[in-house]
Amino acid sequence: MKNVFVLAEHRNQQLRDATWEAVAAARKIAADLGIEYTGILLADKVDAMAQQLAAECPKVLAVEDNAFASFNSEPITQALTTLLKDRGPFILVMTNSNAVIDVAPGLSVYLDAALATDCFGYEVRDGKFLALRQMYSYKVNALVSFKNAQNIVVTLRGGAFSFSPGAQGPGAVEKIPSPLAEGRFKKRFLGFVEAEKGDVDISAADIIVSVGRGIGDEPDMSMFESLAEAMGGVLACSRPIVDKNLLPKYHQVGTSGVEVKPKVYLALGISGAFQHLGGIKGSPLIVAVNKDPKAPIFRVAQYGVVGDLNEIVPALEEKLQEAKK
């Protein structure tokens, strides 16, 4: 490996927070391999963001083009391909954000790179880079090695690497003329669509009763609503519940749904997928009820019950009502 590159992500002309986690990872990987790391910024206006990035990278490659404004994966992929194709062998580090999910797989094909997505760590063995990721409903960790390709692309799970500012002073910014040809792209950004607002705002709730796939295919939702009410909290859910139209989208906790920061989170039939847990901030008390004792939720909950929701939920509501008397 000659280089580690890290792609900065931006929206509305601001670097996104996850960029710093990717910088932290690139810095650590480069140090372990004894090589340099370089930040890459592709934006419509690079100056301010390039300075920010250079404060934390020994070198920054910056390309300015209006086509990058919305982080449209087509111009981003084309430009990265041109920029990096003669700079291998390299490891390119990116966040595993929803924007980058459109970039990484195609880019890896164009760049002759092996790809590992959603990585939460890595190992270096005999000078070789291996990635750590999860499989099988987040129940298993896998150590992945790479072959048949000159380069490596990895995308990082949010929260897996923590950033602290480095002290090496501002790096050099090299501005590179845009390699993009004039003309229309096959893929075009039209605009943002804001989330639908509902009659409850779970992001402001202190007490959340949250239901997931484990409540079954034909659940009695009134049982959970009534428990949430008895606790003085709100009812929320994980993605499968919204997919089945059991609750509207604004009840969904998770990275693609709503971020919540309650004091108490009662997780009923929630397995604890990373995307769901990513939406729970501020370290609440998590109490989980699930029939699978190996559910990942039990690794993050302080208290757990392994059992049948149809027995435990009514019993819990009854005891709550008694306690209120």
Binding site: D102, A114, K187, G232, I286, I312, K319
Partner: protein
């Protein structure tokens, strides 16, 4: 509008007790239930709905072993016109790249307007095949798609960003869209619907049939290798409360009271 849907045969591990096999490189899968990857079911439904509005055909394809035929049969019952099973023993050990290479080889000689697939597979969670396949075919792609509208040689769609925000986009056809779960309601498949498609032949194609060389498929063609797998360390984990539902409930009320979990 001719649509190709790529689907995957995956083990259900959500509530299973997983055991690592002796090689240390995979889990034991013989006691697991297999089914179509949940995300891909939404892709089939979307394809069939587009066909019902716009006309055309829906072709379903999977790189999957023999026993996956029931999934392809079910796809026909859901409204697909034809289904292909691509498998060769040498395809064992495929990663996202090897599967994409195999699908690209199968698809490149076929006329199509749109390819649909699920964004992720529930087993490896890689989210790679769609974007790689599109790049190999030289067409634009997008993932996490939550709404699709086909119009005059283009496709307009929404894709999910974080925190409930979406972006509205447009692509020229032919294109590939990897869908998010929940973009439609997959239809109920009746026994009658399955019976109706019982006589449709599902061709089984090997590496030679599609003209791909052995070095490009399976473990040989893969760019990633699983060196070992492990169960995550238990850590501190939750304190498990045991007892009858009433006893458990009483203890939970104590805990909730103490921590402000009752308003």
């Amino acid at each position: 509008m001719n649509i190709i849907v790529c689907i995957k045969w995956t083990p259900d591990t959500s509530e299973a007790d997983l055991v690592i096999e002796s090689s240390g490189k995979d889990i034991k899968k013989d006691s697991l239930d297999y089914d179509i990857n949940d995300w891909d079911r939404f892709a089939i439904e979307e394809a069939v709905q587009i066909k019902e509005r716009e006309g055309g055909t829906v072709t379903v394809v999977s790189v999957a072993p023999e026993e996956s035929e029931e999934m392809l049969r079910e796809s026909l019952a859901r409204g697909a016109d034809e289904a292909f099973q691509i498998w060769d023993d040498a395809m064992e050990g495929s990663d996202g790249y090897a599967v994409a290479s195999t699908l690209a080889q199968f698809i490149k000689e076929r006329p199509f307007d749109l390819i649909l697939t699920g964004t992720l597979a529930d087993d490896d969670g890689g989210g790679q095949v769609g974007g790689m396949l599109a790049a190999m075919l030289g067409i634009p792609s997008s993932a996490l798609v939550s709404k699709i509208e086909v119009k005059n040689g283009t496709v307009k769609f929404n894709r999910e960003l974080e925190g409930g925000l979406s972006e509205s986009m447009e692509m020229d056809l032919p294109a590939l869209l990897a869908v998010a779960t929940g973009l439609n309601e997959p239809r109920f498949v009746s026994i009658r619907a399955v019976r109706k498609v019982a006589s449709i032949e599902i061709p089984r194609l090997g590496a030679q049939d599609i003209g791909i060389d052995q070095a490009s498929i399976g473990a040989a063609g893969a760019r990633t290798v699983i060196e070992n797998i492990s169960l995550p360390p238990e850590g501190e984990g939750a304190e498990i409360i045991k007892g009858s539902p009433d006893e458990v409930a009483a203890r939970l009320v104590e805990i909730l009271k103490e921590k402000g979990g009752i308003a």
